[in-house]
Amino acid sequence: MTAQNDASAEHGLNPPVPPVDDSNPTGRYHSSAAERVQQDVSAGDALAPAAESADAESPAEKAAPSERFAWMKDTRQWGVRAPVTAHGLTVDAINIGIYGEIPDESREMTRMPRGSFATPGLPRLDNYSVNRKEELWSENAAWLYEEAIQRRWIAMQDIAWDALPTLLLDFELAWCQLCTELGHHAIAETDTIGQWLHRMNYAYIEPKMFLATEEFDAARHHEVMRHRALCNGGALGVESAGMVSRRMLETRAGWPETSVALYLARGVLTLLLYRFGAHYAANPVDRKIFSLCLQDKARHLAYGQGMLKYSVAVQGADFATSLRRILGSIEKDMAGELKDAVLWEALAIIAGGSVSGMKSGMAAVHKLRGDYVRQYVARLRYVGIGKRDDALHPDLAAALAGG
């Protein structure tokens, strides 16, 4: 302990201990910031209000710790008071002192809470495969986690389902097809994250927690899309071609490799489909449904891009090249989905207002497909993968050109 609770003097059960470099308590953390940890521990003293520090007794005046409760001295940093901010007590706010030290690598396989006092000699409880910061970290994860919770919504309460107006049958079924496709996207997202979440090391709880919110969002998206397809006289449509979903699910190389498919190849399309739905919604109910989903999906992409950008920045050009190579097969499937008549014809009906308006609606579809490829390329560049337009799959390049 490096600072005292203001009542510690009275009880004397938790006196300060001499500072030691315990930044790597089990030898399983590797941090470039390790040498700074002791300094941060000292800085932790400053977190206590000045009056407390002044009132605290000196170590010499402390009573010896009780033998009965010897564990009371087992803390690496004491005296921590995370500030309650205008946004409440946030995850960012508790990342202070040693508790905010994010190791570059963790071989800690025991679910030890980051910053807690280690018990040496424990066997591994798991063998996590995502153990390096650059494999999952994003600086915005903690903030996005809190945002996800603050912006939660309830499909059955926040949507005025009874206010859905009657639509012409073909038009209604086109919406049903779009909803069926997006329901599939949510299931694929759930399966993909679910098979990675438990492989992620507990040193990196912020991205783990954010991904829990993404899983929860995906459940709600599945619920709301399925319900929208069924509740207004239509029916569930034809299942998705699912080509990119397969890439997401079958990628075993790592979380960043999976994320390229999940967030950039699929996530961008999902985002644009929600935006399309919100834009062409024929009534306030549909507009609200798609707008709320859009807000969630934007958050998911913010994490995915932040993580990939960090991952590429740390791992360098060689890693970026490897991701670019992975994109070859993913783009092949993106191109396959771009050719699939089912989704795009449904969108043409939606944009055109009816089957007879499909021809004019195709202009919006071409724009959407172009935007998809354009945003995909732009986001690749943002994260540092750097894909040239002339290196795109030919069908993607054609979509970019409005084909």
Binding site: V84, I154, L168, I205, G234, G242, A346
Partner: protein, 365 residues
């Protein structure tokens, strides 16, 4: 509401002549009569799932009731595709309750009511919080893994488990926040491990094995503690944490009980197997092995912390131990009630139940 037309319209024929396919649209029209049934099965509205397929052949992540495509890869190969492996009762109600009762640890806990505590009480509170920060997300990692292996035809189960993933994430961070909010810090990680090589909640490869250990026993014990949070809390912030966490945990336990009840009624051939899972889980409940029951006699770190909190200080820990003993008895009573509810209470009568638990139950009677 749209009206049914079962033949291609003139507009459709014209569009096909213009080069559009639209065969999918005709398939959707033929699908409409069945949509009413699907809506009746919808997780948002009904519990009518009697007609749900007992075995799922969905290997392509389609939402239940969507029209299959021919000739696409069956890339999901779900491990759990039999209703009798995963199903339970009241799933939709539990899901809807979960989404309705989400809360924010940042803003729904009155953190400003935290006041400086004596160092021994603060240390005990922090030790307990460290324990929960360590174990709560296990109940997110493990269900998350099963969701990814479960056919989406049983989306009611998947969606409920997804709410649990969210809940457990919040529990992990709210206890971490508590440890770091009031002049304390994180303390010693729990050192009790068992069955690392198999037979524990997070090693389970079978859904009912996982659920009976996690939901019925592990979370059940924690639920009793959370429900008694008033006894361990020293301010409104701590009371709110325990109260809200108890509400979440009660849903998870209910899921496990209702799954076990379904299994008891629909798969009597698996009763003995489920009893075997309970044998192992009861041992951990009684001894504290595996760190699954923080109140257990052998769980030194957490049991001592609880005794300090319940007694009102380190110097009153012996008083606290007496209250803790009563809590253990209450854990057993509530566990036995769960056994009755799901139809596995024969073990109480036939001598199979863990003797230490039975003794505690009789002492409480």
């Amino acid at each position: 509401m749209a009206t049914l037309q079962d033949r291609p319209t003139i507009e459709m024929e014209q569009a096909v002549q213009d080069g559009f396919d639209l065969s999918w649209l005709q398939r959707l029209k033929e699908q409409i009569p069945g949509a009413a049934d699907e809506l009746a099965h919808d997780p948002t509205l009904a519990e009518n799932t009697a007609g749900l397929l007992d075995e799922s052949t969905n290997f392509t992540q389609r939402t239940r009731g969507a029209l299959p495509r021919a000739g696409i890869p069956q890339y999901t190969a779900y491990t759990f595709r039999d209703k009798k492996e995963v199903w339970g009762y009241n799933l939709t109600k539990l899901y809807q309750e979960a989404v309705s009762r989400q809360w924010s640890s940042a803003t729904d806990i009155p953190w400003d009511t935290l006041r400086p505590l004596s160092d021994d009480v603060e240390a005990a509170q922090c030790q307990l919080a460290t324990f929960f920060a360590q174990v709560e997300f296990v109940a997110a990692d493990v269900p998350g893994r099963f969701i990814a292996q479960m056919s989406p035809d049983y989306h009611e189960v998947r969606m409920f488990l997804l709410t649990q993933v969210m809940d457990e994430s919040r529990h992990m961070e709210v206890f971490r926040k508590r440890a770091l909010a009031n002049g304390g810090g994180l303390m010693r990680m729990i050192d009790s491990v068992s069955d690392v090589t198999g037979g524990s909640t997070d090693n389970a490869r079978e859904f009912t094995e996982m659920s009976s250990r996690l939901h019925i026993v592990g979370e059940g014990n924690v639920l009793t503690l959370f429900r008694l949070g008033e006894l361990m809390a020293y301010n409104d912030a701590e009371k709110a944490i325990y109260r809200r966490a108890a509400q979440d945990e009660a849903r998870h336990v209910a899921f496990g009980v209702l799954h076990a009840r379904y299994m008891n009624e629909c798969t009597p051939e698996r009763r003995e197997e489920i009893h075997a899972y309970l044998d192992e889980a009861e041992d951990r409940q009684a001894t504290g092995n595996g760190g699954e029951n923080p109140a257990a006699r052998g769980a030194n770190l957490t049991a001592e912390s609880l005794a300090i909190l319940l007694g009102g200080g380190a110097d009153k820990a012996d008083e606290g131990q007496k209250i803790l003993a009563a809590i253990r008895q209450r854990q057993v009573k509530e566990y036995f009630q769960r056994l009755k509810s799901c139809g596995f209470d024969d073990r109480i009568e036939n001598g199979r139940v863990n003797p230490a638990l039975l003794e505690a139950y009789k002492a409480a009677a």
